[in-house]
Symmetry: C2
Subunit: 244 residues, 2 copies
DNA sequence: CACTCTTTAATGGTCAGACCATTATGAAAA
DNA sequence: TTTTCATAATGGTCTGACCATTAAAGAGTG
């Protein structure tokens, strides 16, 4: 096969790229370049198909990919179409969740990462949290007390962590924390979770007090104690689930 | 509109869910439940379409979504089909990249997050790195010296960070670092980058020496110094790009 | 038998054209 | 003016077809 007598021993490394991939790439390029930005509306599918010179189905697969990636949102009806979305970290969370499901990331890795991450967050929040942030944290803790269902209280907890992360004024941390919270949520189950949950509320108030006093070390210690209790519960439950 | 005289003021909150969404969900469920796992092969598209009682196009949009999410891989040809993938963090990196492009995450946030993250990583690596890890780090640093192109040396740097993250024995950190490295790569440009790059190599050797000596504080300090130099360059370049 | 070439069938990728459900808009009617 | 209804635009889905690639079975050859 390679014994060609022609003076050209090497051929062009052709590669078949699928139509939808090329379309996605072009749209992503315009996004990175700033030609397309949040709020913009892409032409209708039928129009775009003509423009890209592909069938509507190929184009739709591209749009579907972008939608799943959280880049656009498809709205039906007159004046509908594909709208470029504002940034939402949901897709990152989803991607991390998929990764954990597919792979063999252990619970230990998740909890360790969360612990380390919260250390940073508490330290930064201690330095940067405004009184508004702190008041919001307290309000959430208060609301948690009044909530009646386990799920509602868990939602409050997630919100508490999110607001705390926001207090760092760095959204990257917010994404990381959201991801880990969501993934670990799957493991937080069991009959004794409710009593644990109740006892955690007080800890949240304490943390705010430490933050307000700018006592970094005390705040970090409180968060570690808090998370370690949660993680002990999670581990215990996970083992129980593995048995049953 | 709400003035219905019927004794049933509230109706069931119906919502039209698209076919491909339901399909994706079902497959994801089987994944979380363990019924489907890496390496498994899904039935052919035409078969699956019959099974789900949808058209092939709807089914294809679902498969396309899952492929873009990195969950399956579509192989064409006889004995081809959709194969469940092993976990790859690429999609998380892609999602974070999209997020940064769409949103207005600042360079400052990225570099700050990276700095904080590397602190943790260095500390953990200091405690857990095996001699194999350290030798690999040195080998990469050696190779960096010999590489001739800027791009090749950058690739070495990324690899160095990845191996360092792996030395923590916690893959979550690896993902975070990969994401940040990839995103920051876009900003690392400019004529004086090459000279900076050269001068960074020595720092990598120093870090390994500190790690081997289990000198956590020295290692952290070296990494901070290292990264701060890089980030100064990145910031300068970013400003230059904004001007031009 | 061993090896090479050809054929065949399975499968994903693409295309074309159609119909349905939803939605905004404007015209018609009250 | 307000309500109702027809209309057109648009995404979601369906059907059926053809192409390109690939692995495996079969045919031919030494």
């Amino acid at each position: 096969m390679a014994s060609s007598p022609s003076p050209k021993p090497s051929f062009a490394p052709i590669k078949t790229r699928r139509a939808f991939e090329v379309i996605c790439e072009q749209i992503r390029e315009q996004l990175a370049a700033g030609t397309l930005k949040a709020g913009d509306k892409l032409p209708a599918e039928r129009e775009l198909a003509v423009e890209f010179q592909v069938s509507r189905s190929a184009l739709r697969e591209a749009l579907r990919s972008l939608e799943v990636a959280g880049i656009i949102r498809n709205v039906k009806g007159a004046k509908g179409g594909a709208f470029v979305q504002t940034a939402e970290p949901d897709r990152i969370v989803q991607a991390m969740q998929d990764y954990v499901h597919l792979g063999d990331i252990s619970l230990g890795e998740l909890t360790e990462a969360r612990l380390a991450l919260q250390d940073i967050i508490v330290r930064l929040a201690c330095a940067r949290a405004t009184e508004t942030d702190l008041a919001e944290l307290e309000a959430i803790a208060e609301r948690t007390k009044r909530e009646s269902s386990v799920e509602a209280r868990y939602a409050c907890a997630v919100e508490y962590y999110a607001v705390l992360a926001r207090a760092t004024k760095n959204r990257i941390f917010g994404i990381f924390v959201d991801s880990l919270s969501t993934i670990l949520h799957e493991f937080v189950r069991g009959p004794d979770y409710e009593t644990l949950q109740q006892s955690l509320i007080e800890s949240r108030f304490k943390l705010v007090r430490h933050l307000r006093a700018k006592d970094e070390e005390a705040a970090v210690a409180e968060m570690r104690k808090h998370l370690e209790r949660v993680h002990r519960h999670v581990r215990k439950n996970s083992k129980a689930a593995a048995k049953g």
